[in-house]
Symmetry: C3
Subunit: 254 residues, 3 copies
């Protein structure tokens, strides 16, 4: 997963390096269209794909505006799966969901080639994944992290009078608006589904099961496929129609 | 093949699930840039790639505006190859070309995880392909279809006076305009190649062999690489230059 | 690597054909977003990914505005790696960097299917790679080239008075401007790093190590990850901000 786009050869060079080290590897493109430098977007995407991959998978995430600076390179291990990424918050939602994560800082002792100052994806992150795929253990290339990793938070605020302040976590390809309210929190709060969400020209009432529970062009609330509260427009683009953007605040009444 | 785009983690989650069920699978991205909900576009793309894949290939097509509604999930078998898709017309051109197709409706008995109402790509279609790749037979997850599948038609109309009314089946990445007239129909009608196609400011005459048979910027007719009549502009974008859109009508005289 | 985009089935058909001939092949997408017909862009991308791939890799490059004309199809061999592409200059930067290249012209004797006049990617280039992957030798499908291949050149001009005229070789996804001045030429000229580059509203001074050596939004010069002189804007889009385009001229003083 990168924000490199697919026009240039950046991703190709990373793949080449992986195959040079681990010819038997299977490389899976998650996405290279993360909006440039958008750490939050990448964090959400990582959280959404990670549970579906099997043990032994190694996830390389390169959204790295601080490349060449002194930011650390992280290696994380949980449930037999590994994540490799810069220490810039891109794994924040993973920290939040997987409390049993082991976190290491990747060194450079194991690297025999020149490390460019602008492309650690090719020179550190992808090769780190490749040497693990080829049989090295995490502690051969990394050491335990001695300071906490960079983390961003998007808390839900309880406003009182049965109101919650949510934030927009993500706008997806279809214009669906994904909020930071997870079904598990909703259930912890003991909320019945008689909710209403305030939007520009009124309210959206209740939580539906699927898009086609409302007419074409109508808005609805539902739990998205990862368990977050989503605002959608049946066969339309909710974010565009309602002019809602990432990180916007929303008020949910119950 | 999906209309999910490649910005989000949707395709990644499908791939993760496939590898969790069938670790030895080879996953081939056809395209995830099918225009949103454009069943006709996907149908044309499927028809164009299907013949080139070998026996044993399993094609997963998720263009699914009706996800979560009662639309069926199809499994089709022809020539040792399988197609898995929603029953919404996306396989119409395949129905038309492969009369010997065996068609099944996919059940959910074999599924042990929660099925979300909004993402059957991850929860039904991709896993159906994966369990087949891992050795299951179609009749272990699907049963024969008892009603005909959804089908869209784009017939060619004979207008008399040696005129045919065609429709635009597809505009490709280069702006080439692909019509619904296949070379085999053309030959059945016994047309000689002295044809002319009416466009906004005049006619395009004759059928050429290749783009460079005309000067740069000039229009031409030719048979596209799948055998459909195509309108092109040498090193230009015919659809943009002539303002022609998908599903437009065109008159061919012969 | 192609300029076919990923909306249509063109790339998928190429992949299908490869798997039909060489079922054990591993296919790696480099990019299908090369700007249409942009041979220079593709040449630069190929140069940037090629060194990172292992021996035995076969690189298929289809940017082919002359498809169907009499342009030749090339097969090149260097360091145990192969490149297959049309003879239209797309390998120019490879010719320049790898003087020991063996170059062949691909014939069509070995092809048993119809060759369309518009899609040699599917009918010649991808299958040529596949038959090599499946064990054929280059001289079974190609013969030595008897005339030099098409080549484009982008020389650096020495203007005298310690000034060099550079050209913009490439604008990348981040808006970084890559010039045609390679670090090796720079060192051959014996230039100290006290350089200044003239841009619209002034000069950029000196060569930095990495983006974060300057403040957010500031411009800098640095050596890109392939060794070319690059103009960047820390966390910004230099090409957009300075309105600089591919092939523009730039003056470097030293």
């Amino acid at each position: 997963m990168t924000d490199f786009g697919t026009e240039d050869g950046y991703v190709g060079a990373m793949k080449g390096r992986i195959f040079s080290i681990a010819p038997q590897a299977t490389i899976v493109d998650i996405t290279h269209q993360i909006p440039r430098y958008n750490i939050r977007f990448a964090s959400f995407t990582l959280l959404n794909i990670f549970p579906y991959f099997p043990e032994g998978s190694i996830h390389v995430v390169v959204i790295d505006p601080g490349v060449g600076s002194r930011r650390r390179a992280l290696l994380m291990e949980v449930g037999g799966k590994i994540i490799i990424c810069p220490d810039n918050g891109v794994a924040s939602l993973i920290f939040d969901r997987y409390k049993e994560l082991k976190i290491y800082s990747i060194g450079t002792d194991w690297i025999s080639w020149d490390i460019s100052t602008t492309f650690h994806g090719r020179d550190i992150f992808a090769p780190a994944a490749a040497v693990l795929a080829a049989g090295k253990e995490p502690d051969e290339i990394a050491s335990p992290l001695n300071e906490p990793p960079v983390n961003f938070m998007l808390p839900i605020s309880l406003l009182g009078q049965k109101r919650l302040q949510l934030r927009v976590l993500h706008i997806d390809h279809f214009g669906n608006i994904i909020t930071n309210l997870h079904k598990s929190q909703f259930e912890e709060l003991g909320i019945h589904e008689g909710v209403k969400l305030k939007v520009t020209h009124g309210f959206i009432y209740g939580i539906k099961k699927t898009y086609s529970d409302v007419g074409r062009g109508q808005y609805l609330l539902l739990w998205d496929s990862s368990g977050y509260l989503e605002i959608a427009q049946n066969q339309g683009n909710a974010a565009l129609s309602m002019n809602i953007k990432e990180n916007d605040e929303l008020i949910l009444e119950y």
